[in-house]
């Protein structure tokens, strides 16, 4: 009897305890792993750069100065200038906005849609599950980039459409992970107890199932952010994402980087470096988050 009374208040506190332990686990992981700390710092810099782009950028990213076209890196223009004399550093700083914005929105849409499909699939099981999951199989049979290309080709090239295409690519994988988490959460005794005392489905989903799904979904979302930035850059590089004159990193590489690569290799070097660092930061941060919150997802 003593054990029962001792456990009851603990169970009531579980939810807030989970929150605290998650933050603490992440904090411990970041402190213990230097790579985790470095990636968190890089992401912070990236986010600040995007927010403060207007005050950080030394020049207007769209202002052309033909008299200094293709100027090599110097004190005035640390990353050089492009073929019509625009400052490459300012364009990269403003480009961080497009990359982050597309990444965040695409992953946000993809995660929410994937979560709804996964919840429906895992919670309802049966025919709903079968239909939804086969549909996801059908989408997943098309490689992500090719699917994104096909979607953009129908919707016409633009930053917003690239974002929608990337979100579509994210949905199937996310729905599958949420479905798995829901299926295993349903095995818990407290879900059975909630069903037995006649709780309504929305309440069971929100209070008992959803808390089990948040950790894997956040881990996957952080890893997807890097990928989303990469796909946006690839679509823009291929000419079907962000359109000129907007400074997208992928577009900068294809429009000027390739055309003038022999005279001005910095035009290809710096935007690519920016993409790689952003993707690297999100990949490493995703790894750290996974180690801290959900080691089962490893490998």
């Amino acid at each position: 009897m003593a054990t029962v009374t001792a456990r009851a208040p603990a169970a009531l506190e579980t939810e807030s305890a989970v929150e605290i332990s998650r933050t603490r686990a992440l904090w411990t992981a970041i402190r213990r792993k230097p790579l985790g700390a470095a990636s968190a710092a890089l992401i912070a810099i990236l986010v600040l750069t995007a927010i403060l782009a207007d005050s950080l950028a030394p020049y207007d990213p769209l202002a052309a100065q033909p008299e200094i076209r293709l100027a090599a890196p110097s004190w005035e223009h640390p990353f050089g200038t492009d073929d019509i004399g625009r400052d490459v550093l300012s364009r990269i700083i403003h480009g961080s906005r497009i990359s982050l914005w597309v990444g965040l929105l695409a992953v946000g849409i993809g995660t929410v849609a994937g979560m709804i499909i996964g919840l429906l699939s895992g919670y309802c099981e049966g025919r709903t599950d079968l239909v939804l999951q086969r549909l996801m199989d059908g989408i997943q049979a098309i490689p992500g980039l090719v699917l994104a290309l096909a979607i953009v080709s129908v919707l016409r090239p633009s930053t917003t459409n690239a974002m929608i295409a990337i979100a579509m690519v994210i949905i199937p994988g996310n729905s599958r992970i949420v479905r798995g988490a829901v299926l295993s959460a349903k095995q818990n005794r407290y879900v059975e107890a909630a069903q037995a005392i006649g709780c309504r489905h929305p309440r069971i989903i929100v209070s008992h199932i959803l808390p089990n799904v948040t950790a894997p979904i956040l881990v996957i979302a952080s890893i997807w952010l890097g990928n989303a930035i990469l796909i946006e850059a690839t679509l823009s590089f291929l000419g079907v994402g962000t359109q000129p004159p907007d400074p997208s990193w992928g577009l900068m590489l294809s429009s000027t980087g390739r055309a003038f690569m022999e005279q001005a290799p910095w035009l290809a070097l710096f935007p690519g470096l920016a993409i790689s660092l952003a993707v690297l930061a999100f990949n490493l941060f995703g790894d750290t988050l996974r180690d801290a919150w959900d080691p089962k997802l490893r490998g």
Binding site: R134, P143, L145, V146, V154, E262, A268, G272, L277
Partner: protein
């Protein structure tokens, strides 16, 4: 094994049908009909020509008939003509597919040649300098965009060695040397990207297997280190690696799109990108479906290999 193969084959059919429905639906998702929207934008096609094209492409038929017709065209290898060049799609595909196949196969081989030895070395010398180097290489492979690596390779090859990739594709049978010269760099760029995930997986599975009892027994018997690692540990460690390599096929096919565009190789990827830029939707539709079909078949092959390597899977 036979039963398992048949079951997996039967599961692949509905997936393919669904993908075809998705691709078909996608191409007709726009309000109005796809062609009017796509072609009308260019502004240089008159109303009468548009009606003729619509009739030629059978876009005047009801959707279900269009779908069935398209599936029949795909199955009978006559996917129609390109709107833009007028060339039969089958003809352009016959030229493009060998290029992509060669690139993909070379990239796959190069990727494995880079990944497996470095992965094993990383695991056997865990936490040493070579392990750290290996891990950094793997993470950078995952983070460097292949179009950037490709651009850099071309740029620095031109600046340092005054070497520019030859324009105009030459098949392997015409001139093997020139063909390999054309393919080696793109395949290396693609292979490097592929090697990252395989390398990480090889490292972690080898580490896991090296801690197994039977490996300890092998050490205790006094076997040579190389034999323990390569003969006893690696064989079991490679089973999950096969799955990862299978999962990479999508990355490989998508990678060919980018790499072919950069290195001007006339393969499937470049054909698709060009078709998208020119809004040549019969070509886009056929190519996307073909890629999906290839991926599903290759995944089936990977599953069967997996079942062959690990008998437990067949009985699940």
């Amino acid at each position: 094994m036979y039963k398992y193969a048949v079951r997996r084959l039967l599961l692949a059919v509905p997936v393919l049908l669904l993908s075809s429905l998705i691709v078909f639906g996608l191409m007709r998702v726009m309000p109005g009909d796809a062609l009017t929207a796509l072609m009308g934008e260019s502004g240089n096609i008159g109303e009468r020509e548009l009606a003729k094209i619509r009739k030629d492409l059978r876009l005047d038929l009801p959707y279900h008939e269009q779908y069935l017709l398209w599936v029949w065209q795909m199955v009978s290898f006559h996917p129609g003509d390109s709107i833009f060049t007028g060339e039969p799609i089958a003809v352009s595909l016959a030229k493009a597919i060998p290029v992509t196949l060669e690139l993909a196969a070379l990239a796959m081989v190069l990727g494995l040649v880079i990944a497996i030895p470095i992965g094993v070395l990383s695991a056997t010398r865990q936490d040493s300098a070579s392990d750290y180097v290996g891990r950094v290489v793997a993470v950078s492979g995952l983070s460097f965009p292949d179009f950037w690596l490709g651009t850099l390779v071309i740029t620095f090859a031109a600046i340092w060695f005054h070497w520019i990739p030859a324009i105009g594709y030459v098949s392997f049978w015409e001139s093997p040397l020139r063909n390999l010269q054309q393919f080696l760099l793109p395949a290396a760029v693609l292979g490097f990207r592929l090697s990252a995930a395989t390398m990480r997986m090889t490292r972690s599975t080898v580490l896991e297997v090296l801690r197994e009892d039977y490996v300890r027994t092998a050490w205790a018997k006094g076997l040579e280190g190389r034999i323990v690692v390569y003969k006893h540990a690696l064989k079991n460690a490679l089973i999950p690696v096969v799955t990862i390599v299978g999962g990479q096929l999508g990355v490989l096919l998508a990678g060919t799109v980018v790499v072919e565009t950069i290195f001007a190789l006339p393969g499937m990827g470049r054909l698709t990108v060009e078709a998208i830029l020119f809004r040549d939707y019969p070509v886009v539709q056929t190519n996307v479906m073909l890629v999906a079909g290839t991926l599903v078949s290759l995944n089936l092959l990977v599953d069967l290999t997996y079942a062959w390597l690990d008998p437990r899977i067949r009985y699940q």
